[in-house]
Symmetry: C2
Subunit: 130 residues, 2 copies
């Protein structure tokens, strides 16, 4: 389960929104400050929005806000909304064949590993890192 910067920043964004839960919409520029690319964060926010994890409002005073209590977000659902494939190896979800003589003796390892990772991230809630 390799986490890309997309996943990392998505989580940082959600932490920021979680800390400001109930205070209305928060703009991307407030979240990133001057030190980070607004454009890149916009794209990430767009993914979270499409996945239904946050709600957007356009225009002046616009921004994003959480749609439910921070305690109800698992880390898993946040990462899963922006990452392409959280499995430790593609074949766990993609079903491509091994090109080697002995056919995929190792599959159960990846499968079990993924289950363990997913469980941990599903049990962990956004409130745990606020």
């Amino acid at each position: 389960m390799r986490i890309s910067s997309k996943g990392k920043y998505a989580l940082e964004l959600m932490v920021y929104l979680g800390r400001n839960y109930g205070k209305g919409s928060i703009s991307i520029s407030e979240i990133t400050g001057d030190s980070f690319s607004i454009k890149y964060m916009e794209k990430i926010a767009g993914l979270l929005n499409k996945a239904g994890l946050i709600k957007s409002e356009r225009g002046v005073e616009g921004g994003y806000k959480l749609v439910k209590d921070p305690s109800e977000y698992s880390i898993f659902e946040i990462l899963n909304a922006v990452e392409d494939n959280l499995a430790p190896i593609k074949c766990v979800l993609d079903d491509d064949a091994c090109k080697i003589k002995i056919t995929c003796k190792t599959y159960p390892i990846w499968d079990e590993l993924y289950e363990i990772e997913a469980k941990f991230l599903k049990d962990k809630k956004l409130t745990d890192i606020l």
Copy 2:
């Protein structure tokens, strides 16, 4: 913890050697058959050899063999021998800074996730998948 094809094939190779433990050296071409790149597998075997996990013998009748009983190999040490970074995100081991306003609130998640993954893979032995 994203497993690359290098890690996957390293493990398949170790499985093959494990199944033939005590039968002398096994050549790469026997392991891969015609269906897979001998050259690529050679490189992977070289990494395992350098890490001290297998022992090589050159020349006719040469090949590779395990240096200890299959039950003594953890999956972790096998993957760790060929993968560059098993951590879920580089900063867990590389110590690079977050480029975002709120500084790395998420770090403990990656760290804890890595510990869980590593424990699972350390407890799992090569014999478990023979």
